[in-house]
């Protein structure tokens, strides 16, 4: 009999179904991956297993069957749940050390020598040993996730449920999180259920479950799943009723083109084809007016930002050229967001010179004239929750003094081109992240800027929506000739940039085209490996 058995579990919310008739089995020491787009039921199933939400069906863990949160109380001592969201379970005003103390206390963990040894081991694994006195609110995103994980592990749970523990976490921290997880399951025989948005991580799992439309649509080892889609993946070729993404074409009907090796993310594209949920095609029309641009759109010389004694950005030089997509990469807390905020004037510049569109920026007045030419999408999409998509866009159009008839025309056009026309009268909170992301960009494009600053626009967005997003950026560059500065944690996305800049602890450590970087790192199989090699050097 398996250690964990989930039978026909359904979770219903007031208006929709979270997950329908899900079943799974897990043995001791197994890592099971939950993979799928946003809102496909991964979290619902995790909440049901953790016994924090009402469900239909039966779950048996270690011979104890439960059908409701109340019955699940009996096994809660064995469970560790880390819900989705960076630093969600942490208290900003408590230090790292106080967190460990608190989690041990509420779980009534016996605090003997063995406990302290284990606690120190976890701290060491998470690289947090030196930071026990730091307030959680002052940790970077990656550190918060590692702290959340070790807090969840502190009582040695036998059933570990981790909901997107690595989303928004940089590749290095992600690697470390997985090492912790791997050690624990080997030493303790823990079952780990892990959902992730990074397909590379699926390779480290014993079994993956594919989620779509509130159902589990496929189960098995990753290689098997990838093998299954092989017949549908072709090299890029013109076709109908098919998908062409990132230089590959996917079709259920045979195509007159050579096959190519599928990647992990391709599973989603083939699945979209199978469930006949073709994503809306992205188009970009010509802009209303042509603008003459200088060759160098943005130039930063020795830009520096300090927070007290902490240097967030240390003398950074950077150039953004006309019609270029520049990727700004780095671990959590490397200074990416701070840099963008300095460019936008959201943080005052402590030192250095900044030139935007050929004008030196010295005061707020200098910026005022440029506001109409810059578009910005923040990490959290600054949308108004109480306004519908349409109302949000009209509001932003008003802010930029776009005449109403012109505003309505442009909003209608973007809605069609970027594929969110059907959601125009919905509230942002009820929409998938991918749709919110595209309409946030539409809001930033309304005034037809010539430069676009995007701060982690793709975090937590599913593979298909991300592919569409990049298609949109590519078209914007091609049709409008605008320059884009983008930060991301998906190293595979770095490859779509013209040039990348790598930041580490506030310093620039690399600035080159993707091609050149591959040349200088001949052994690297993916961009992730290049990134890690830079980070490991003189670490």
């Amino acid at each position: 009999m398996p250690q964990l058995e989930v039978r026909d579990v359904t979770v219903r919310y007031k208006k929709r179904v979270g997950i329908q008739n899900a079943s799974l089995q897990a043995e001791r020491g197994e890592i099971i991956g939950f993979i799928g787009a946003d809102g496909t039921g991964k979290s619902s199933l995790m909440h049901a297993i953790a016994g924090v939400i009402r469900f239909e069906g039966e779950i048996v863990y270690d011979g104890v069957a439960y059908h409701s949160p109340k019955e699940a109380e009996r096994i809660k001592a064995e469970i560790g749940l880390m819900p989705q969201g960076i630093g969600l379970v942490l208290y900003d005003d408590l230090t790292v050390g106080e967190h460990l103390q608190f989690f041990a206390d509420i779980r009534d963990v016996k605090q003997d020598e063995a406990f302290y040894a284990y606690r120190d081991k976890l701290l060491h694994m998470a690289g947090l040993s030196e930071f026990t006195d730091r307030l959680a609110g002052n940790l970077s995103g990656g550190m918060m996730q590692k702290l959340s994980l070790i807090c969840t592990l502190l009582h040695r749970p036998k059933l570990l449920i981790l909901d997107e523990p690595t989303t928004g976490v940089d590749p290095l921290s992600r690697l470390e999180l997985w090492e912790i997880l791997d050690n624990i399951r080997k030493e303790e025989g823990t079952i780990a259920l892990v959902s992730t948005a990074y397909m590379q991580e699926a390779a480290r799992m014993d079994k993956v479950l594919l989620f779509d439309d509130s159902k589990i649509i496929a189960k098995g080892k990753l290689e098997e799943l990838v093998h299954e889609i092989e017949p549908y993946v072709y090299e890029k070729s013109p076709c109908e009723e098919c998908l062409t993404i990132h230089g590959k074409s996917f079709s259920l009907k045979p195509l007159d083109a050579p096959h190519t090796t599928p990647s992990l993310e391709d599973i989603f594209f083939v699945n979209a084809l199978k469930s006949q949920k073709l994503p809306p095609k992205i188009e970009i029309g010509a802009r209303s007016d042509g603008t003459e641009l200088p060759e160098i759109v943005m130039e930063a010389k020795g830009l520096t930002k300090r927070f007290g004694s902490f240097v967030a950005d240390d003398h950074i030089d950077m150039q953004l050229r006309r019609g270029e997509i520049l990727g700004l990469l780095g671990a959590n807390g490397a200074g990416k967001t701070t840099f963008i905020k300095m460019l936008l004037g959201l943080y005052p510049i402590d030192e250095g010179e900044l030139t935007l569109l050929g004008r030196p920026i010295r005061s707020g007045k200098d910026r005022q004239k440029l506001k109409a030419k810059i578009g910005y999408v923040s990490q959290h999409f600054a949308l108004y929750k109480e306004l519908t998509v349409r109302e949000n866009l009209l509001y932003f159009a008003n802010m930029h003094h776009i005449p109403p008839t012109e505003a309505i025309r442009r909003i209608g056009r973007y809605a069609e081109e970027l594929g969110f026309a059907e959601y125009m009268d919905d509230f942002p909170s009820s929409l998938p992240l991918g749709v919110n992301q595209r309409f946030s960009v539409a809001a930033a494009l309304l005034h037809e800027p010539v430069v676009l600053f995007l701060d982690e626009p793709t975090s937590g967005v599913d593979a298909i929506a991300r592919a569409q997003f990049w298609e949109m950026l590519r078209l914007l560059k091609q049709k409008w000739g605008i320059s884009i500065l983008i930060t991301t944690h998906y190293m595979s996305e770095a490859e779509y940039c013209d040039r990348v800049v790598l930041l580490k602890r506030g310093k620039k450590i690399a600035d080159d085209t993707v091609e050149n970087l591959y040349k200088s790192h001949p052994d690297a199989k993916s961009f992730e490996e290049i990134f890690l090699s830079y980070y490991r050097e003189n670490a």
Binding site: V52, E73, P83, L88, D93, L94, E98, D105, D108, L135
Partner: protein
Amino acid sequence: MKTRTVRAFALKEFVDLYRSRMIVMVYLLPVMILVLFGYGIRMEVTHARVMIIDNDHSKFSKELVAKFEHSKYYNPSVVQIPEKEALRSIKQAKTDALIIIPSSFEKRLLHGQKSEIGVFVDGSFPTRATTIEGYIQGTILDAASEVSARMGMKPKGMITLNQRTLFNQAMRDEDAVVPGLIGLILLVAPAILSALLIVKEKEKGTIFNFYASPLSKAEFLAAKLIPVFALHSLNIFLLFLLAVYLFDVPFRGSFMLYWLSSELYILISLSIGLLVSVITRRQVVAVVLTVIITVIPGFLYSGILMPISSMQGESYIEAHLFPVMYYNHILYDTFLIGQGLASEKIVLYLGILVVFFLFYFAAGTLWLKKEMR
């Protein structure tokens, strides 16, 4: 219930309250309400600007004017101007009241004839006008009775007033307002804090630490409510000291009764906060809702604005549905009267407060679910 767990959780709440500076609010809010309202609410009128036109210039009329001049309630000015001009002065809000003593005032009185004194009061603030009117009436009657006693005559229609104010002999506003404010503060402040402590975890997401752990509902509630209870218990003493030493309110009853009934009242308040935190998800909503459901009854039915006994119909019934009326009765007793437990009414009201607490606490506890909604 594992005491170690509860202690650890409660300790976390203290640390959190301290580091987020919320602790300042716990004590600043009550002191501010007491000081602002304690000084701000004024029912009595002093230094009313009274214009007197004396057309008689007799001994009697001068004696009457002197009465006004020697009272702290008036700022009189004796003038010789036409009536019309004096009335205009009221219109311009330069004068609160006008008193006209007719000519041959003394002569008529000595002859035992009826005499009329003209009194005009600015009625733009009705309560203020009524108060001033009452004062003037009293002053005139007082003067009249003095004169008549001295002359040994009993003129017809002359009333001797024998007014006495009970319990608040000095007629000081502070005595009437400050204890009522304590009833308001101890209803509002603990409720807001306890609502915030739970909703904050819901909003942030840390509530998962409770949902997903073996922590029981009783342990969670104890950990959340004990800090609020402990911190606000200190306010009972703080408010007492402010009332007695800053506002000079007398304290005639038993301190034990004041203290224990206040602790009971705080329990009611934090149970209300608990109820609010069960229904709301956002801190802002929780605060606004708590303020609405505690401040309005806390103020209306506190007895500050209007005595409950003089309420009628719906307001009388409503007043009995909120705990503030019962507690304030006990408060006023301990401060101004001092009957204490000898009064059956106070024992009954204590019992009613216990029922309030049990009801709210049971409702909040049963409603709180250890699962997502």
